[in-house]
Symmetry: C2
Subunit: 433 residues, 2 copies
């Protein structure tokens, strides 16, 4: 399709400059279609994410000036030549995506067609890239180029285009009632939280407690003379890190446990008191019926260690969700998990060596699931959760809110610095403010 | 029960002496019942295991002289006061085990009654211990004391005492036809091999290929518009280490894949040519119908890397079974596994730090399952496999045999040295020879 004549030549963008702590608001050329599969999206909202801080602090080994940001949503303003009815057989959006559609993008590009994408492992698509990295300009700009957009984007204007437990009509109705600042959470933090909770609750080492069938009968159907007692089925979780992803993981895990009516006890851990308060405020808003049959408490590291020891008589957690991404967080996860426990790590880890000897891992029969959320694949689950649980998060800026503030791009340098120092929660840029 | 009058005062035992490489055949006192839950077993056969080499080489931080060996079988000759009809409500063997019963012991003690054991995680029982360690005298002796024997032992004389896919009559018939040197493999290497294969084939990250449902639909029932193509369902495995456990893991994995008629390709890896030859000899004896719809090849490390790259067009293995237990083996597993792949490690790892940065693990979305086999819990599956696949292993000493030789205890010093240098395969001691 031809580029729109109304497109400006330049735009405002938030750019990172090497070596570190240098964020500038600059006027740069508006991106153009480069490949047939590209789309240009006019960005309405773009968020700042904890993992942006790796680059911000200069810890990511990056030296290329680039537009920041991997969480964004907006409106399609231009499409490459791949789009249209002639693209049958490719991912559906190549045939259905239109200029004017409202879209949210997962934080990485994925083609949707390769053997990695076909299995649902979209965040590791070999032709993919992370927005807001040296490989791909980010979304904290007025316009952004989305490569492989037919595989990557979620089309909020076409609720038939994704599979869900909700009907297209219910989706449309729900979409009308959800604020854009909440829909933006579908780009990263909500699917990443769901990804963590999903892996923790479905780990084979959690299965004996979940099913009441001892290992290895837990893997098979049929009768078994079980040795598992009702009290052995108590699921004990720790969630390490109560930033925005930790909150999303908490709500997702609580929702899954409540759906299945499973007995549970969750300790949510963060050294920052205001984050713990937010977690408790969000939990207190989960309606009583939907809390499930368990308890949830937000604590400091030391208090949490004592709580887990008391709850489990020293055995440890069934599973730990590690949402921070540094050696001390993953070490804490190891300390808290039970023998034959599962550690699910969605934190973005960097260069440090894993702080474990082989003997430690062998001696505790630990399992780990590491890595990035395949946000494109997780989108339907995350959307359903957002529709179902949107009310547990309050208005922007409240004690119970996921989004701390919505600001214009000019505040970016101060906002990055404050976020880096944990002085503020999640910030969202209205790129046209 | 009263001790048997026929028990001698002293016995022959194979003992390890610090600091390293010092194995002595000595006359030591016959063990006595110390606790009401103890049993004394007259050892018929005891095997030498690759993991014994950690202590042998002085790598285990051990300085206490002790009887070696954690793989043994024999006959119950004495029972503590816990045994008999008054022990109802405890693990069944407290009521049913009798002097004269033929038993095989898993390589660790487990009570069978605590919250860890009840979930089937028997190898991490808090009151358990590894035979042939400073904590507990081993089985390479004419007699051995088995603590918590009612939770620990398998009673081969009472096939009703364990759950199985086979009827008690079929079990009895099978037992009559299996050599003791094969039954001894139930102590460790066969359940450990099954444990590795079971975890690999049931990992959530293997599920999309297995089920044909992309992540995360792989976790749920119901309709889904799948993107998975038939060719994406090819399961590619690497098995690192073709010692006795690696052979057992190979046979177990082949059996499971054949049962489910799944498409697969397996590369089994070892630098030692004779071990690769043995693996191929065993594979060639798996009857055609039972091989399943796949291929199996034993290769050196470099050849295997090329094979995996060719088979998967550079993507990597669906899952890797790591059965060696050192940093280079686990690094090789990382190199071979695909993004969103699973590494199952049953190798006994020691003091070295895990050779991975956090970024490596995050960037490949790797999962790990570490640790020791809960042999007591895995016994029924291992027994069923032994009955079904006993014919794939040849007579003692053959190219296709699991057991290389059966020798008397006096040969222990030479046998340990030869085994340490990979000059011989699995050795079994007839303690009365």
């Amino acid at each position: 399709m031809a580029p729109s004549n109304s497109m400006p030549e330049t735009m405002t963008a938030i750019r990172w400059h090497p070596p570190a702590f240098d964020i500038r608001v600059e006027s740069v050329p508006v991106p153009k279609i480069q490949e047939p599969d590209d789309a240009i999206v006019k960005v309405s909202l773009a968020a700042l994410c904890g993992s942006d801080l790796h680059v911000y602090r200069g810890h990511a080994g990056v030296d290329k000036i680039h537009i920041s940001g991997h969480e964004f949503m907006g409106e399609v303003v231009e499409l490459g030549s791949s789009y249209g009815a002639h693209s049958k057989g490719r991912p559906e959006l190549y045939a259905t995506l239109k200029v004017g559609d409202k879209v949210v993008s997962p934080f990485t590009v994925n083609c949707g067609e390769c053997d990695v994408c076909r299995l649902g492992y979209t965040c590791r698509c070999p032709v993919g890239a992370l927005f807001g990295s040296p490989a791909l300009e980010g979304g904290q700009a007025q316009y952004v180029r989305v490569p492989k957009a037919g595989g990557t984007l979620f089309n909020l204007s076409d609720p038939k285009s994704w599979h869900s437990t909700l009907s297209p009509e219910m989706k449309e109705k729900a979409l009308a009632g959800i604020a854009d600042s909440s829909l933006l959470m579908l780009a990263d933090i909500l699917p990443t939280g769901v990804f963590a909770a999903l892996q923790a609750l479905n780990h084979p080492k959690v299965l004996p407690a979940l099913s009441g069938r001892p290992w290895p009968a837990s893997f098979f159907p049929g009768d078994v003379s079980t040795t598992v007692l009702p009290k052995d089925r108590m699921l004990t979780f720790a969630i390490i890190g109560l930033g925005p992803v930790g909150l999303c993981a908490s709500v997702s895990l609580l929702d899954m446990l409540s759906e299945k009516q499973l007995p549970f006890q969750i300790v949510a851990i963060d050294p920052v008191e205001s984050r713990r308060e937010k977690a408790m405020a969000v939990y207190s808003k989960i309606d009583q019926a939907g809390k499930g049959s368990g308890k949830f408490i937000a604590q400091s590291i030391d208090d949490a260690k004592k709580t887990v020891a008391t709850w489990t008589e020293g055995v440890g957690c069934t599973a730990v969700l590690e949402i921070v991404g540094n050696p001390s967080a993953i070490s804490l996860a190891y300390d808290l998990v039970r023998p034959f426990g599962a550690i699910v790590s969605v934190g973005v880890h960097g260069e440090p060596q894993m702080p474990f000897t082989g003997r430690q891992l062998y001696n505790k029969n630990v399992s780990f699931d590491f890595g990035r959320c395949p946000a494109r694949a997780m989108f339907p689950m995350a959307f359903d959760l957002l529709v179902k649980r949107q009310d547990v998060f309050g208005e922007v800026g409240g004690l119970d809110s996921l989004v701390d503030r919505i600001i214009g791009p000019n505040e970016a340098p101060e906002i990055y610095a404050a976020f880096d120092q944990s002085k503020i929660g999640k910030a969202v840029f209205d790129m046209w403010k």
